[in-house]
């Protein structure tokens, strides 16, 4: 999977994913989100148009970036025992905090829909529409 980050404006970052998002690389996506957030991005557009596959690890990545945008530190499923003991602040229904999704391929949309996450985020047909909405 390839990850690209564009900054169409100072407080907006567009993270584009190409290839397969799964357990082997979802942490790189969270890292890209963290870098964008630390670089001043208040809103992030995840452009998923290039994804040919997204496993359930992708859900963790999307949720983690949403938490980062709210200033929360997501716990990593890889953290071992620590993840169980470090109680992160409780997530709430208001997950959509400046994170929007763009260009969902049908297979990715299905995974998001199944998990019930689709309705938690603003979803745009393509990157341009998403950027326009984020910079408005």
């Amino acid at each position: 999977m390839d990850i690209t980050t564009d900054r169409p404006s100072p407080d907006v970052a567009v993270i584009g994913l190409t290839g397969e998002l799964d357990g082997s690389n979802f942490e790189a996506v969270i890292e890209a989100g963290r870098i964008a957030r630390n670089g001043g991005a208040q809103r992030i557009v995840l452009d998923l148009a290039g994804l040919t596959y997204m496993g359930s690890s992708g859900l963790v990545a999307i949720h983690s970036i949403a938490l980062l945008l709210r200033g929360l530190e997501p716990t990593s499923p890889e953290d071992g025992w620590q993840a169980i003991h470090d109680l992160s602040s409780a997530p709430d229904t208001d997950v959509d905090a400046g994170l929007s999704l763009a260009g969902l391929p049908p297979s990715v949309e299905r995974v998001l829909d199944r998990s019930g996450m689709l309705e938690l985020f603003a979803v745009h047909p393509d990157r341009e529409t998403a950027i326009a909405a984020a910079t408005a």
Binding site: S57, S76, D79, S115
Partner: protein, 540 residues
Amino acid sequence: MGSPGLGRLIDPARLADLLSAAAGSGLAVRLVDASGAEIAASPGAAAVLDGPGGAVLGRRRIEIDGAAIGEIVTGAPIDADTAVARSQAELVGRAIELVVEEAFARRAIATSAITDLRELALLSRLTATLATIIDPTEIARHVLDSVSRPLHPLAGLVFDADSATVLASAGPADAVAGLLAGAPPLVARLRAEDPIVGSCAEIAPDGVPADAGRPETTVTAVHPASPRIGGRLAAILRTARGEHGSIVLARAAGSPGFDEANRQLLASVATQAALALERGALQRVVVERRAFDQELAIGRRIQISLMPRRFPEIEGWQIASAYEPAREVGGDFYDVFRLRDRRDCLGLVVADVTGKGIPAAILMADARGLIHAAADHGDDPAETLSRVNRILVGERGSGLFVTVAHARLDAGTGRLRLARAGHDPVHVLRADGRLEILDPPGRLIGMVDDIGTASCEVILDPGDAFIAHTDGVTDTRSEDGAFYGEERYRALLRGLVGRSAAEIVEAVDGDVRAFRGLAEPADDLTLLVVRREQGSFAAG
């Protein structure tokens, strides 16, 4: 090579032959060492060379490695034909010179045999030391230590494979800095020039190779940045399987440059160092892997302990399951249990925890226990899952999610209520061949406070089968990367009408395995089938 004892080196018999032959031709020949002391002379030479009746025709300096080690003085009586005498003197002088050079070559071979022994000792010590080290920095430090005595460099550096990271350095700071500045082009050139394992080259201070006999090492190199740096010697640390770094040494300006023996020694050390770095890297992976595997194994043990050992026996119903763990990722679990106050009712669970290892296993155990308890206290699966989610989100926030398909089956009536939390749809294969897809709403557990579940309800008549799976089934990939997919899964199920629960499980499992071929299972795979027996109503 130190000052040679010229007299001891030369074979006296050969020298005597040459000298008497010279005397027979009327020539006088004397061989002297660097201090001018006579080593040998032809019979009567003193009278000709030192007396008034003769004349000195030629003096030939004998040089080895650019240093004068002696002289051959030839002469003839005054009445000899000087043109003939000069050419004869030239020949005799050249012959003696050859004897001397030959003697030196033998000595060089003997010396290199001694050097080889030292080298062997050094290498065996180095190998023994490196055998226990896996840290690349420590390996690099030992390598620099080991070459400091035999090669006496002013400064030394070991780079890792990308040539950007210095693993270890030795020597005065300014010399190291100077060496560092000049090293990358040197290493790059060496790497490009010589693709052979553990290759090596030497470079003189002015950028001219010290050994002119090795034209491939010619370099118009960047002059070392530090005035303190003289000759340099570099080696790529390479094994048959790849490059693991490089080593660059420099001598002080003004001191002799490195020679061929030095080059060979460093080449041997470089090979040892490369092997040690490669082994260290492998060992680090193994150590990390072992810790990782241990956690995975513990997680697996917890996970397996949560699976039902046998299913409750319910008259008129068949229950069958398949569970296949993936090597790494995967946190599937399933459960079939009787409800506490309704022994004729079954709780069915198929779930998938994101993540792996101990945290996933603990979440699994948590979720399983909570679903049991909540199901015992309510009759709506949607309410059960919502309650479980509230507890997991509110009290146990772990950063992990779980998708669940949970049903409550009344074995007496065949009434089945299903709730879904972010899980793949559940299928009902009717006795008449219709395949129904149950897809009630509901988000995965662990992410948000309200998962928005609602149950749906169906009646399972005789011959109908409830079939729940995890995405390990549909996400199975073939050797060429194609997905098994929902279409193939559903088409297969449609063809399984009339089959028992165990036969359905076997057919799906077999088809998935056949599709996967030799590809590694990427995720856990779970299948749970509960089928109402065809005959159970036929009698009544």
